[in-house]
């Protein structure tokens, strides 16, 4: 049985390549039961106005293969953002749900 993998994105999309690389790895491990969670400054990666040149194709692939991308509601609100600021195809979840998702994983890959 394949493992449950959670790719955790933490870093902002500007100043580092971590979110882009995290999504690249999420695609790579997508044969497993994979989920992506975005917390802290990584939520900026999913704003409508963010330049997604480096990872839009990964995001499109994840959407097509029904691999969910969960955005931490607390991280969003702390930064004065709302779900309306986000691109389509991502899901805002309560912090407690994000924690449950991470707790249930066999492996967490943090970027």
């Amino acid at each position: 049985m394949s493992k449950k993998i959670v790719v955790i994105l933490r870093k902002p999309p500007h100043g580092s390549l971590y979110p882009a690389e995290g999504l690249r790895v999420a695609v790579a491990v997508s044969a497993s039961e994979t989920k992506v969670v975005s917390i802290e400054d990584s939520v900026y990666a999913f704003l409508k106005e963010t330049d997604m040149t480096l990872y839009k194709h990964h995001l499109d692939f994840l959407k097509e293969t029904e691999i969910p991308v969960f955005i931490d509601k607390d991280s969003l609100e702390t930064r004065g953002l709302t779900p309306e600021n986000l691109v389509d195809g991502v899901t805002v979840e309560e912090h407690s749900e994000i924690l449950n998702t991470i707790a249930e994983a066999d492996a967490t890959l943090t970027f």
């Binding site: 497993s32 492996a107 890959l109």
Partner: protein, 115 residues
């Protein structure tokens, strides 16, 4: 024997992350565990050949050579090497791709991420 997978991100000589990775890997090997390391992003530069030996500074190239000699498996993100122009790397390490990260997770009892 359990297998530990290390997904490792940091380049040499800036933070102590390479030293942490090396010490963890050594400790696991000494306990008889299998160790698999995937060098991602700047970490591919940890296995570059020709790193100058400086007194008082741990030579990361030598340390990785030792890990491989002791049985650690070291895989390198090929795309990360290409964009950094990293060409020459120590014997025993091998080029890999992100699908190898999937293998690393499947093959390991525990995966640690060291950034």
């Amino acid at each position: 024997m359990p297998t530990i997978g290390l997904l490792f991100f940091s380049g040499p000589y800036q933070s102590e992350s390479p030293e942490t990775t090396i010490e963890l890997a050594k400790a696991a090997l000494e306990k008889g565990m299998n160790v698999k390391i995937f060098c991602y992003m700047d970490a591919v530069n940890c296995v570059k050949t020709g790193q100058k030996k400086v007194p008082g500074v741990i030579n990361i190239e030598e340390q990785f050579r030792e890990l491989i000699t002791k049985g650690a498996e070291v895989r390198l993100c090929t795309l990360c090497m290409l964009v950094r122009g990293t060409k020459d790397f120590i014997e025993g390490a091998r080029r890999a791709g992100t699908p190898d990260v999937a293998d690393l997770v499947e093959e390991s009892d525990r995966v640690l991420v060291i950034s």
